[in-house]
C-alpha cells in the first residue's frame, strides 16, 4: 500500500463521514460547518488527482463564497441555537430506502458494465493548456460558453438584487 493510496482512502472516508453528518445533524450551524469540511476534502481529492486548478477554484468559490453565503443566510433567517425538528419516521424511511436502493442500482449497473471501459494512462494537465483551450475560438474552444456564463453571472447578480430588494409595500 503506497502513500498516495492511503491518502486517497482517508480523504474518501472523511468525505463520506462529513457528508453524512451534513445531512443528519439537527444543529444548523454544525451542518454548515460539516459541509465546509466536505468541500475542503473534495478540494483535497482534486489535489490528489493533480487537478490543481480545479482544486483552487473549488476552494475559492465553494469554501470562500458559497459557505459564507449559506452561513450569512443562516444568521439572517434562523434563531440561533434552535435545533431542527426531528424528521418523521416515514420520511426518513422513504429517503433512506430510496438512496440505498439507488446506490445499489448504480453500483450493480456500473459493476456489470465497467469491464468494457478502457483506461488510458494519466497525464499532467498544465495551466497553459487550460487557458489556451478556454479562450480559443477554434474547434474544441470554450470561448462561447465562457462569455455566456459571464452573462449568466451578471444576470444572476442583478436578479439577486432585484429579488431581495426591500420594497415599501412588503417591507
Amino acid at each position: 500500500m503506497e502513500t498516495g493510496k492511503i491518502i486517497f482512502y482517508l480523504i474518501s472516508i472523511m468525505i463520506v463521514i462529513f457528508g453524512l453528518l451534513t445531512v443528519t445533524t439537527r444543529k444548523l450551524f454544525r451542518s454548515a460547518i460539516y459541509l465546509l469540511f466536505t468541500l475542503i476534502n473534495v478540494a483535497a481529492l482534486y489535489f490528489c488527482l493533480n487537478y490543481e486548478f480545479i482544486a483552487a477554484v473549488q476552494i475559492v468559490v465553494y469554501v470562500g463564497g458559497i459557505i459564507v453565503l449559506i452561513l450569512f443566510s443562516l444568521f439572517l433567517t434562523q434563531q440561533a441555537g434552535l435545533d431542527l425538528p426531528k424528521p418523521s419516521f416515514s420520511r426518513v424511511a422513504l429517503a433512506a430506502s430510496l438512496s440505498v436502493f439507488g446506490f445499489i442500482f448504480v453500483f450493480l449497473l456500473f459493476y456489470f458494465s465497467s469491464s468494457s471501459l478502457e483506461v488510458a494512462g494519466p497525464v499532467e494537465v498544465t495551466m497553459k493548456a487550460i487557458g489556451t483551450q478556454m479562450l480559443s475560438f477554434t474547434k474544441n474552444g470554450y470561448v462561447l460558453p465562457f462569455e455566456v456564463v459571464s452573462i449568466l453571472l451578471l444576470a444572476a447578480m442583478i436578479g439577486c438584487i432585484a429579488i431581495a430588494f426591500r420594497t415599501k409595500e412588503n417591507g
Binding site: K5, L35, L49, V61, I66, L69, A96, A120, Y142, C160
Partner: protein, 104 residues
C-alpha cells in the same frame, strides 16, 4: 495516486450523490435542502474529473464542464438564498412545509 483504480473514486462519488439525495428528501429547512443540492453537484464534479483523467487524459472536456458547473452552482446558490430571504420576510419561516399559499 495513479494506482487508485478509477472505480473506487466513482464509488465515492455515487455515495456522495446518494447522501445528497437522502438529505434533500429528509430535510424541510430550505437552506439545508440547498446544502444537500451542493453535495450532489460536488459528486457530479468528481465524476467529471475522474472520467476526464482516467479515460480521456488528452482532452480537457471534463475539466471545463467542472469549471462551468462550479460557476453555475455559485449563481444558483446566490439566487436561491435571495429567494429564501424574501420568503423569510413574507412568512417568517423557511420551512418548506409552511410555505403553502400557492398550494391547491
Amino acid at each position: 495516486m495513479a494506482e487508485v483504480p478509477y472505480q473506487h473514486i466513482l464509488f465515492l462519488s455515487f455515495a456522495l450523490f446518494f447522501i445528497g439525495v437522502y438529505g434533500f428528501f429528509t430535510r424541510r429547512n430550505m437552506i439545508t435542502m440547498l446544502m444537500a443540492v451542493e453535495l450532489m453537484l460536488n459528486s457530479v464534479n468528481i465524476n467529471m474529473v475522474v472520467f476526464n483523467k482516467y479515460l480521456f487524459p488528452g482532452e480537457l472536456e471534463g475539466l471545463f464542464f467542472t469549471l462551468f458547473i462550479i460557476t453555475i452552482a455559485a449563481a444558483e446558490a446566490a439566487i436561491a438564498i435571495a429567494i429564501i430571504i424574501n420568503i423569510y420576510r413574507k412568512f417568517k419561516t423557511i420551512d418548506a412545509e409552511d410555505v403553502d399559499s400557492m398550494k391547491f
